[in-house]
Symmetry: C2
Subunit: 526 residues, 2 copies
């Protein structure tokens, strides 16, 4: 029935697309790197519906093409700034994890990552200020009569630009400069909502809950100070001293969240949060001939796919050698996306490729297992196709993503710090041979597909909704217009407490007064 429904829904979407929708103008301010892959999926879909897209990109962009059949681009010259520092930091991070693991070296590299990111935010602000100061560009943007700004709030340029142009704002979001998106927009009871980076689940012990609250306090102090600060400065410069950047972000019309509740733990949400987890996933297409031949040759044992995503292509060669040696002992065939020196110990069963059609391979019926670093896209493709995971998380949200999968019984995490052929082989064998991993992942996959509407169609519906209705104010709460003290009713609680305390104090006072007067009177009498 599932297939029937989705075919029919496809038919519906096709027909409604043909029935003459409104064609809008969308100004996209994307984040670079792997985030662009996601944004492009939305752009291509919006373009196919007949909307006009304009993309704002920096002249140093790694990924965002200047020329595209799907959009017009506006390139802002931001000089020589190198935002690709991650490729240099990654090997150092891995070195520290494997050999120099001490508290101070961890703190040191964390601090460096922090300050590098802070620099990127600063650079984005410079780029935004350049746009604001460029009268010709601003005029052309104003004349462009866009219907909305679509942005990824990992960086804040799009939020500022939307406010400057007075346009409705749609976010394509999982992370913001203040942390995970939900923590900005929805109530998040820390008793069962794990904050990022701690690899906790929604079932926490007392000490885990203490840790969760403590690290949350550090985050709400640190994130505005290191990341939000730059945007706050710009907001006040251009929009006036009372404009708070955090409120501009909270005030977005629609939050298209790149997750759903097969991926995320269930938690409170908001009327203007739309879940589009897995929106980039598609049914598998046939593989290229040579790859299909290789996969087919695996027979009943099946295939293992290994890929560490677009940014994490290389590990240290000592890790690769151990991984290769473990793979060599398996009856399965292995397709390993890998660039850099060829690992030693490579078995005949292992095919090294520098790119692979990940979605089509994960959707192949002979694929048994996915070895992944745990980036959001890869995990969601694994859920979509129901393939269990052996996870090698390195940084960012990867440990958290994989700990969610591990908590749901669909993945096993191997610590890259202590990985050797034995540990890795054991993990692979466990996920291959203990049927619960596959069963749990296929159950999750079934739930993910059992939705009234496909995630991408839902995302496009709400973008078009914002076009049709010039925003979505009826879905935005008053919470964003209140101070922290008002929102948490602290003023009310203190007033009520004061009254409660005042009553007995006053009564005591009155009794004392009466008693004293009586006493005095009696004394005077005597």
């Amino acid at each position: 029935m599932k297939m029937h429904q989705s075919t029919l829904l496809g038919l519906f979407v096709l027909l409604s697309a043909l029935s003459g929708s409104y064609c809008g103008k969308v100004l996209v301010v994307p984040a670079d790197g792997s985030h662009w892959i996601n944004m492009k999926v939305l752009i291509v879909e919006l373009h196919s519906k007949g909307h006009n897209i304009t993309v704002v990109r920096g002249s140093n962009s790694w990924y965002i093409e200047e020329e595209s059949p799907y959009y017009t681009s506006i390139t802002v010259d931001i000089g020589e700034f190198d935002s690709d520092f991650w490729m240099m930091l990654l090997p150092r991070l891995l070195q520290i994890k494997r050999h120099g693991k001490s508290f101070w070296s961890e703190i040191e590299i964390a601090q460096e990552i922090f300050s590098r990111f802070s620099e990127v935010h600063h650079q984005i602000c410079n780029m935004t200020a350049m746009i604001f100061e460029n009268e010709i560009l601003m005029n052309s943007l104003e004349d462009g009569k866009y219907d909305l700004v679509l942005t990824d709030p990992a960086f804040g340029g799009g939020v500022l630009l939307a406010h400057r142009l007075g346009l409705p704002l749609v976010l394509n979001v999982r992370w913001t400069m203040y942390g995970e998106g939900h923590f900005v927009v929805a109530p998040s009871p820390l008793s069962y909502i794990p904050i990022p980076a701690l690899q906790l689940t929604d079932k926490m012990t007392f000490s885990q809950r203490v840790m969760n609250v403590m690290v949350y306090l550090i985050f709400i102090y640190q994130n505005p100070k290191f990341f939000g600060y730059h945007y706050q400065e710009l907001s006040q410069k251009y929009f006036g001293p009372n404009v708070d950047f955090f409120s501009l972000l909270q005030d977005a019309d629609i939050w298209l969240m790149r997750n759903d509740f097969t991926f995320e733990f269930p938690r409170p949400t908001m009327p203007n949060v739309v879940y589009m987890g897995g929106f980039q996933c598609k049914p598998a297409k046939p593989l290229p001939d040579d790859l299909e031949k290789f996969v087919h040759s695996s027979g009943e044992h099946g295939v293992i796919i290994m890929s560490l995503g677009s940014v994490f292509g290389q590990l240290l060669s000592e890790i690769n050698d151990e991984i290769a040696a473990a793979f060599a002992q398996l009856p399965q065939k292995v397709i390993w996306r890998h660039t850099g020196p060829r690992p030693a110990n490579l078995g005949n069963n292992t095919l090294i490729v520098d790119w692979l059609p990940q979605n089509d391979l994960l959707g192949h019926p002979q694929t048994k297992l996915f070895v992944a670093h745990g980036g959001t896209n890869g995990v969601q493709e694994a859920i979509y196709h129901g393939v269990p995971i052996v996870g090698l998380p390195i940084s960012f949200d990867q440990p958290d993503n994989l700990s969610r999968m591990q908590a749901k019984g669909t993945a096993k995490i191997v610590d890259i710090a202590t990985l050797d052929r034995t540990v890795f082989l054991e993990a692979i064998k466990e996920v291959l041979h203990n049927p619960s991993y596959k069963e749990n992942m296929q159950k999750l996959s079934k739930l993910h597909h059992d939705q009234p509407m496909k995630p991408l169609d839902r995302a496009v519906f709400w973008i078009e909704f914002v076009m049709r209705n010039r925003g979505a104010p009826h879905l935005r709460t008053q919470a964003y217009r209140m101070s922290w003290i008002e929102y948490h009713s602290i003023d009310v609680i203190l007033s009520l407490l004061a009254i409660v305390l005042l009553v007995p104090v006053s009564i005591t006072f009155i009794i004392k007064l009466v008693w004293y007067k009586g006493f005095y009177k009696n004394k005077a009498k005597n």
Copy 2:
């Protein structure tokens, strides 16, 4: 485009219905009275999809028919209990409102309503216990192999029965014995979420916020004590001393909420809350000939519809006389649903009927205004068809429903306590002649219709989802499994505060100790 979309979506739903859905067995435990009207809409729709429905009803039911083409019924003999006390209390309530309005008379009647409702809850518990004790009935319910229990948790029998039978639970809900549904299932910051009965909005002054918190504290003390108590007793008797009825309710798989954010103020929600506000509304069908002729005769002035719902058919005749006199002064035609003595002062333009096709009349292009008591169904039909309201709220949720509409600029409320022909006529004229009422209501109507899926289809999708997946545990948070202290992290906060306080105390102590020892030593030396 809107019409295109909904026609196409209708096609999709029709086709997917034909493509061989799973046919489930649904055990319905409805609430009686006007709530049954809503439940029946769901039952008829589920029946049309091929599902088997069984309805549990009390032998004293006002509305729920024993025989129906849509369901099989199980009637439980509950003797002579009269739950229709409302019809007796209503005239007294109106008398007090108009003539005897004093603080004490209001308290007295509120208390009587309270204790009558408490009796009804007690009676529902008796009925549930009778079911539990009836071995033959319980066996047949167990043998029935139902897929889920669908209930309206205004009363708690269905929640208990679902737990007893170990079945997934779907709620058709706006009110529970603990108050409005959201307050049971979702975080509800009292700073911008008005609690029921105060007619507040999401924009509150300081003193309104104080009132909101204070009345909330009364509610969370009073509702479990008067209403929840009966079910709590039964839970502990049949399921063990540690089973908490409130948690059983919170733990429902899906909450089908009879509202949406064109009706309700935007507020936090939960993954398993599905909004189906307006699910009972349909495009207007042609009117019966005589009614159409009457409506047509109104010409450019149009028609006013007045109906006070199924339970509130009669007002006091002194009120009716004033209303009739006001209507008589209008150029519009009036269709008034009214039973009881014919009002004096009735104009030639006013047609009295004892029943009217409300949905079809509200959807008629010549309808200008709806005079309504503000029951949820009527307000939603007005939103659906975009007809502004003059509201005469009497009790229950009616004042709140209408205050929401008034806050959105789509209705004007007239206080029934002071209503006379002048006040009523002025209100009617204001809503008729100030175009903002109609514009705002039509904007609301446009937003209500601009959804990816029709509310009734969405409701049925999620009921069928629960059938397919034996519940929806991935959408239920851990919140319901925590104590109040854990949920609010009170244990964590107190522990952290203790540590924060302990550190300076310890340091002071150590300093004092060292100083004392040094002092003592020095003293000894001298």
